[in-house]
Amino acid sequence: MTENTNVFKRIGWSIYKYILTIISLFRTNIRDYGMFVALIVIFIVFGFMTNWIFMGPFNFTNLLNQTAYVAVLAVGMTLVIVTRQIDLSVGFLGAFLGAYVVVAVETGGQSVVAALLGALVITIVVGIIKGYFIAKIKVPSFVVTLAGMFVFKGFLFIKTGNRTISTTHPFFIKVGTGYLPKFEINGFDVVSLSIGILILVIVLITGMVNRKKHRKLNIPSEKMEIFITKLLIMTAIIGYMTYVFSANKGISYLLLITVAVVVIYHFMTTQTTLGRRIYAVGGNPEAAELSGINVELILIIVFISMGILSMFSGVMYASRLENTSPKHGPFWELYAIAAAFIGGTSASGGIGKVVNAVVGAIVIMSLKNGMALAGIDANIEPIILGGVLLLAVVFDIYTRNVNAVDLVGIHYAKKEYRDEFAASKINFAKAKAELKAALKENRDDLIDFEYKFTNAQGEFNKIKDKIRGSKEEDFVTQS
């Protein structure tokens, strides 16, 4: 009998410990995860309002395709904001380059490759000019890119001749509305499925290899529970995506391009010297200069990268609509900036992740798409979007100084310091009551009571802080 209860107790404790670990992880990283939760809430709310059509295969694919051009811009904008700059010109620059490519192919008779190369040359020249004014002449980027916004708006109008130009070129049709070919077996798309499985396997293997390496180098790696949970959540997401893609038309080229951009930029920011230097420049420009980093060059590179991504964005947008028009461009840059901020990029520089900016872009587009689908007045959408943006940044500021919490450690610490804690709590309550009484009587030696009270309060706080800062490793040596 006793053995049985012990087993139950042990199972109960490990479940409890697991939950505590996950909650600690969440609380410690709330800055990163808060947005995902917001996204899930948005999905559930709109799903509920639209009879789950919102999350269905057709609309979900559509949503991702709609998001693509903003997501690509948001990736570049994150780096711009990380280096403490801003770029307001990307909307019209992107629209202009989209127009340039379409017009070159449609009326200029150029090949697609030549048109794209031409646009690329333009972006690089533009990036260098912007970077030169910002980094070398030290004109605030707000002013330089505001000027750029007007200039490119003019170019866009000139290029399109103030009218909408449609395109039927197969390249644009394919990029804008094409999908990867499907091989269906029993109604399941093998392509989507195998890509999903491949990604999972890669994540699993790199995770395992990293853990092994860390153990070899004697560097601590994340707790096993957390690793498995992350893996499970990822499986669920990829599983859902695979279902969506195989039930609809498959994986669109727009999505493919976006994912490629995100993967490349994620790799660049986390794994390359350039990435490190960009974050260093944003975190502390003076220190970066003193560390031998060419700050001006880094800024110029960041603006060139932003330009190239605007080109991608512009071509993707024009392809999806199968036309180019003087109406393209406005508000793109503001959506990109909003996406970066919703994704937790810090306006004071040095902090921000490109992947999170993409999630920010999905949040924005979900709001637009979901509200339209739910039949809500389109005029309300920007009001909600504004509110969400403000809330996201407020949330970010509030969670900026969150310290690591380990609830398992706190659980042990509470046991360990139970007596001390209780004693100081009683002492504190007593001093408080005495002070109150003394205040009522308005005694002459009031200061003595004040003295006692603050002393007890200090002691009590010290114990509380000690418990709050405890970690699991302090109590259990990991086997």
Binding site: A280, G283, N284, A287, L290, G292, N461
Partner: protein, 510 residues
């Protein structure tokens, strides 16, 4: 013989608009030596090191730098680093948003031919260099969350990872406690055994005596003397450094006769939520009427934070404990309320927190109490200028006009404007945070005279200062703070520089 010399700087002259910061300075450092450069604030030590490290590029100064037997023209910090000269400044060049191992290799990352980071090697190498400087920290923790002592060691680890030949440290121990300082000095001796030459700038003569192989003394931008280990002698160094006697620096002041307590803190604790630690713990200070109370301690010991905690807590620390003003417990929840209760605080960084540089003297003086010069929100410019005239005359601010922009004044006069600004608010208690930082001796003397006049009129003054002579020359009573904890209280009669220094570098039981 010449081969022993690693570095010679020959007749270096560097001029800034209006000031000759360096005037024909010569130094020479032998290979494998620990060389100290000593001198007062403003003697030109940091400028010299900036010339050496290429922060002031070749061409912006006169004279020659001969390093390793060659004349060098450094055009930027990159050039000097590639020759193995690494400077560690007082303001550490670290990235608070990056982790420890990332910081060690920022600017010279370990990467493959495609510029892709080799993170595993980076971590391994970082650990190697951190072990070399004897630092045991979590590789993953953000540098912004570590203490100054640890950050300093990370900087040195960073220098070592760049094949350093000559390590320059600009006042490395100014912000460190005794243990950390000793660690650092031992580390330098260790590094010397490995053949690394170092130049250290320091005020602390104890350190000089302990580990220096040779020193150069600078005063007012000139080389005054150079000594080798055998010749080092504290008295001579001080004489060379100061070049004047202490009696000339401080005005005579009468002995304090006692009075009622006006300000008292009882078990005052301030918790900084962003640093997650107590920056002031258990402070119990008393200030009497007409008294000058000194708060001594090293940089970063929590002196300014204590002043902030009293002055309405502008940085929003979590405060427990109480402040008692004129015998009554008060809650000063914002600087505005503190000002209304008769406390004024003259900040340490007058350019950042104190003065509005673009505005005129009269606007700056009257901004702290606009009510006095306005009616129904409309400013009476006649009254404003009348008050400004009065202070300019009383305090002797040297300016052609009260409508002069503050940015055009000298440091000493700016400081006087700042003091006038707070006098205009008619405080009963004036907190002066580093009142004489960066101003010359003559202006200091005038500020001290003003302080004496004010206490004679019954005002109470708290002086926060890193300069011990100032504390000893001006205060009636002295509190010493180390790592947020109040470690000692001295009456001026019992206080000596050694006692204060000892208390300032020993934190009690944390």
């Amino acid at each position: 013989m010449e081969n022993d010399i690693l570095l010679r700087m020959k007749s270096i002259t560097k001029t800034f608009p209006g000031v000759k910061a360096l005037d024909e300075v010569d130094i020479s450092v032998k290979k494998g030596d620990i060389h100290f450069i000593v001198g007062e604030n403003g003697a030109g030590k940091s400028t010299l090191m900036k010339v050496l490290s290429g922060i002031y590029p070749h061409g912006s100064y006169d004279g020659d730098i001969i390093f390793d037997g060659r004349i060098k023209h450094f055009h930027g910090i990159k050039d000097s680093v590639s020759d193995g000269i690494v400077i560690i400044n007082q303001e550490l060049a670290l990235f608070p948003n990056l982790t420890v191992y990332e910081n060690v290799f920022v600017g010279h990352e370990i990467h493959n031919s495609m510029s892709v980071m080799k993170w595993d090697d980076t971590k391994k190498e970082a650990k190697k260099y951190l072990d070399m400087v004897g630092l045991n920290v979590d590789l993953y923790s953000l540098v912004g969350l570590l203490g100054v002592g640890k950050q300093q060691l990370i900087e040195i680890a960073k220098a070592l990872s760049q094949n350093v030949k000559l390590l320059i440290l600009d006042e490395p121990t100014a912000a460190l406690n005794e243990d950390d300082s000793e660690n650092l000095l031992n580390l330098l001796v260790e590094l010397k055994k490995k053949g690394i030459t170092s130049i250290m700038i320091s005020h602390k003569l104890k350190e000089v005596e302990a580990i220096a192989d040779s020193i150069t003394v600078l005063r007012d931008g000139r080389t005054v003397s150079a000594m080798t280990k055998a010749e080092i002698n504290e008295q001579t160094i001080i004489k060379n450094m100061v070049g004047r006697e202490i009696e000339d620096i401080f005005p005579k002041r009468p002995e304090y006769k006692g009075g009622p307590v006006v300000l008292e803190t009882v078990h005052l604790n301030s918790f900084d939520t962003s640093l997650n630690r107590y920056i002031v713990s258990n402070s119990n200070i008393k200030v009497r009427k007409g008294e000058v109370v000194g708060i001594a301690g090293l940089m970063g010991a929590g002196r300014t934070e204590l002043a902030h905690s009293i002055f309405g807590n502008p940085k929003k620390y979590k405060i427990t404990g109480s402040t008692i003003l004129f015998g009554k417990p008060v809650k000063l929840t914002s600087p505005r309320i503190a000002i209304e209760n008769g406390i004024a605080y003259v900040s340490e960084d007058r350019k950042k927190d104190g003065l509005i540089l673009e505005e005129t003297i009269s606007q700056n003086i009257t901004v702290s109490a606009l009510k006095k010069i306005s009616r129904m929100g409309i400013i009476n410019f006649f009254r404003q200028n009348k008050f400004a005239e009065k202070y300019v005359k009383d305090i002797d601010i040297r300016t052609p006009s009260i409508l002069q922009q503050v940015k055009n004044l000298s440091g000493g006069n700016q400081q006087k404007v700042q003091v006038s600004k707070w006098l205009f608010a008619e405080p009963k208690i004036l907190i002066l945070d580093e009142p004489t930082r960066g101003i010359d001796v003559g202006a200091k003397y005038e500020i001290y005279t003003i302080i004496n006049d004010l206490v004679a009129k019954g005002m109470s003054i708290i002086i926060i200062s890193s300069e011990l002579p100032e504390i000893l020359g001006m205060c009636d009573r002295i509190y010493v703070i180390a790592e947020g904890v109040q470690t000692a209280e001295f009456d001026i009669k019992d206080a000596t520089a050694e006692k204060i220094m000892h208390s300032a570098t020993t934190a009690l039981g944390v």
